[in-house]
Symmetry: D2
Subunit: 342 residues, 4 copies
Amino acid sequence: MRVGVLTGGGDCPGLNAVIRAVVRKGVKVHGFDFVGYREGWKGPLEGLTMELGIEQCRGILPRGGTILGSSRTNPFKLDNGVERIKDNLAKDGVDALVAIGGEDTLGVATRLADLGVNVVGVPKTIDNDLSGTDFTFGFDTAVNIATEAIDRLHTTAESHHRVLVVEVMGRHAGWIALHSGIAGGASMVLIPEQPFDIEDVCTKVKDRFRSKYAPIVVVSEGAVPMEGGEMTLVSGEKDAFGHVRLGGIGDRIAAEIEQRTGAEARAVVLGHIQRGGTPTAFDRWLATRFGLQAIDAVAEGDYGKMMALRGTRIDRVPLIEGTGELKLVSDEEYAEAQVFFG
Amino acid sequence: MRVGVLTGGGDCPGLNAVIRAVVRKGVKVHGFDFVGYREGWKGPLEGLTMELGIEQCRGILPRGGTILGSSRTNPFKLDNGVERIKDNLAKDGVDALVAIGGEDTLGVATRLADLGVNVVGVPKTIDNDLSGTDFTFGFDTAVNIATEAIDRLHTTAESHHRVLVVEVMGRHAGWIALHSGIAGGASMVLIPEQPFDIEDVCTKVKDRFRSKYAPIVVVSEGAVPMEGGEMTLVSGEKDAFGHVRLGGIGDRIAAEIEQRTGAEARAVVLGHIQRGGTPTAFDRWLATRFGLQAIDAVAEGDYGKMMALRGTRIDRVPLIEGTGELKLVSDEEYAEAQVFFG
Amino acid sequence: MRVGVLTGGGDCPGLNAVIRAVVRKGVKVHGFDFVGYREGWKGPLEGLTMELGIEQCRGILPRGGTILGSSRTNPFKLDNGVERIKDNLAKDGVDALVAIGGEDTLGVATRLADLGVNVVGVPKTIDNDLSGTDFTFGFDTAVNIATEAIDRLHTTAESHHRVLVVEVMGRHAGWIALHSGIAGGASMVLIPEQPFDIEDVCTKVKDRFRSKYAPIVVVSEGAVPMEGGEMTLVSGEKDAFGHVRLGGIGDRIAAEIEQRTGAEARAVVLGHIQRGGTPTAFDRWLATRFGLQAIDAVAEGDYGKMMALRGTRIDRVPLIEGTGELKLVSDEEYAEAQVFFG
Amino acid sequence: MRVGVLTGGGDCPGLNAVIRAVVRKGVKVHGFDFVGYREGWKGPLEGLTMELGIEQCRGILPRGGTILGSSRTNPFKLDNGVERIKDNLAKDGVDALVAIGGEDTLGVATRLADLGVNVVGVPKTIDNDLSGTDFTFGFDTAVNIATEAIDRLHTTAESHHRVLVVEVMGRHAGWIALHSGIAGGASMVLIPEQPFDIEDVCTKVKDRFRSKYAPIVVVSEGAVPMEGGEMTLVSGEKDAFGHVRLGGIGDRIAAEIEQRTGAEARAVVLGHIQRGGTPTAFDRWLATRFGLQAIDAVAEGDYGKMMALRGTRIDRVPLIEGTGELKLVSDEEYAEAQVFFG
């Protein structure tokens, strides 16, 4: 049996650990051959392959990135995309595919499975917003990086009486902000699921200064002001201090806080350092176990499934379960930690 | 309402995070007062108290150790131990206790609960061997420290053609060894649940050298040779205190490997660095949530319970469930990762 | 003898280590008393003091920030600033001052020394741009944080064929960029001392992609385009991709690279995480030794001096030597590592 | 011109950075060819070579170990060792050698240089005990690892009233112990250069407990008791290989402290984790600059020299200067930090 492997979407610590586990168990236990498809769905679409065996997987466990490369190519948006993939799989003698990726990559996998392609999926997102699994790998690494950054900023905030706004990843879901905010001892956590009132944020900033502690505000990149609580500084304008304070939500919140409270505020945008580099032990363990389970699913012909962490077990759930709906922070989960915030 | 808090047993990253969460929610939401009992059960036994409020908990979230101190005192092994505890609780006006600790500390809590003391427990062990909960805090930190050590040793093993034996914590359960062995890409993992054959270990060492890779053997401190596979080098004498100080299992395995294979072997015993210092983000998050749930249990009069992680939820389970039986690595869990080992 | 201590300017890992060393040796060896002046020169100006003894310095060695607080107050810019300082020192019975700070703080110290105030200075700047000393504390921490960030970004750059622009601190001097660029294996390092040609940067980006490696460009916040090599996207405008790409030099360079080369480019602005949190071992060692030497200078009445690292020795140099002229990256030092760049 | 490169002796973070810099500048600037000699002096002795060019050096900068492998082979202890080396160099067309190593490796280089071999040396020792240079690469990494370990142990010592003895590397010189002891806030530092009185150590342990702080004792592996202050507990027997494996100095001191003071004491022996894994930024920078200077020395025919850090400059000094005499901690350097100890 010959199995193709591909990785799609943004970078995520643990991708190589999945690939290594898939290949190692595939070769050693199931006696499979492998084809590496390069750059996500572009690989089977354009026939971009690379040799993939135990040798190629040596030493990659602790390394970020993906030896297969990645892209955001979506075959369903291209002419004859599906046909070209089927043709290339046939030409390469590939019987089954392991697709490792997030919402988009697995969305393609789901549709291909419906069209008869033998595919199993491994969920990947540092945002942790895929349904059907307790956690995805990469998330723990991102949360640790954000938490270390918050740890570092605490002393600056205290010693210099500054407000520090930390913008973390999370377009649709606030998991990284919530977990790193709890772990880092933030004063406030603003997430996409709970639109904020900028005036309320500023009140809490002033309260915190009154009790002599400098505030750290953790904000998801996708956080938005609520209706009636809009920010008034227009993106691109200079703020009251003459700084051009622009771009993302973190910078804008810092500018508003300065203008409304008079306290110095600075934004730190963590950006891509959250999604690169060596994975934490948890992410390597989870990614490895996803990989082992995925190749077992292939061996059993259990296609159309996605690997999922449930407690400490790795289960298989229908692909559609993981990609149907985003997993958001619930009201209860957001409320749980409010006693530390504000 | 007045609540006592104590921490017992060995050091564990996250203890302060639990204390902070208990106190903060207790004061802010439930309007409770707190008494800090110092040095585990010795505190209520001997009336060792300290002030405990929001102020005492500032800045402790990222810090290892416990502001309450700890001990291994067991009141059931002392004359009138239980009476003295009840008397001191009454004298201090304490209505309920939050006991944070491992098997021993929670074992005492379980028996005190049976005797009518209002107590809730928070499970603590870096070994992760308490039943009833998916994970305990401190474990993730220990696994990350062990994994980083293994990462560092890889290059030395490769460049210098040496066998490196890494001894990690785990007297009865091999969780730290198994998780760090998977995450660190070890060649072998020896755990208490699976007695090893030293000759088999040496065969695998030689095989690995034959394929040009230097082996890293991760071993739990409680690992033991199987019958018929005993080690033959005599271990160190007992010292003046009756401790067999010299030559833990790691050192002994390294010595046997050298003798039997002729390859240079060195042991690294990680010891106490696994249980001190700042907790990982996961452990801070878990410890914080355990603390929040524990004080809610007190507020609801739901005594005799232990906090437990189930998936991503914090549940309460009967104390007896956590302390009745150790949670060991199952045959399946050990088998799962064997494809990387040997 | 009674000694005042103050810390001025921006945050810098190692400030607490200096304070601890000054106080500990002052008390234990020289038998001095101490007064802590809060918030830089604002402290002696407004009589803001705090108790400062061995007890206040317990546990602060590994902590970022400064227990004395800081500010950018300059007494020479205020009415009667110098008189008020002299009056307060007299009122507090302070015989000598240890001033820990950067160019501005030590500039004030230099002028006060000329006016008869007994002051010794300890140089502090994460930018490493103070003359007279091989290194300043805080710099090594900043370089390590930047290097770890670059390490993390490498895998993303490779796996996703992106240009990553990392903006590090350094308004006037490129030391952090140069050291972290060498240590992180950057493809290019742009520093204030060497104005760059944006077209040349883009050529090198294309060359690097041609040899199949993704470029990482490290840029000091103070880097500037050379005459004739200006960037053309106006700050604040949308770029060719519709992104509002603004603000700092890092963002602007990324935008220009995207527009001119067609390659995806992202900027990561490390900001304040470079100047907070626990110091590296080197910075703790250097800060501690500066503190020990500073209090010895006080004990010897050797005022008007600044502590300086020369090789492995701590020397004392005239304050004016440290503050007279910025220490910039020389042409030779920039040229030395060019073989890795471009 | 064709240049051989070899690495000898124990593992040391930064070896790969030197190799990369030598090769990159050698190829790009000087137009040299390279031969990699494997496993130290064994390489040119037995003709063990590997291809070495820019391609082989990609991605190795942040990696511990050495792509060339290492050994402790000494050609002067073997029959016709020198002749065989000269023959192999001639056969391989090698005009000059860059030897990277410690006392032994450079000692061989020194003698070969006297015998007419064109060789330049790069000093390598995590112990930092080579003369002629302010620091050697690998040392900063080792000190940081030791310091992080001490940081972790502090909370355990405090919370559990334990004495913790940390054994660090340093057979002949106490540099790692001294620097990490200062940086980690140790209570005592015992080094080979200053024989200790065990009774004095125990008195200080008791004093420290009396002032309510738990002691951390940092000890070099080569520390020895002074005459009249011997330890009385017998250490472990020799094992079958004649190694006294059981009970290094750390374990023995902990045992003595327990017996003499009644306080619980534990030893942590850091061992090989100090010499593996990714180098710090400082070590990468230093190693890189050593490599650049070494290949320039070759290009200039300036043989018989060793690279040396002097302040912030890289100088060349006669090989004999580095290997003639060990660089030990002076009485003044040991005395400097005593105010923190005891």
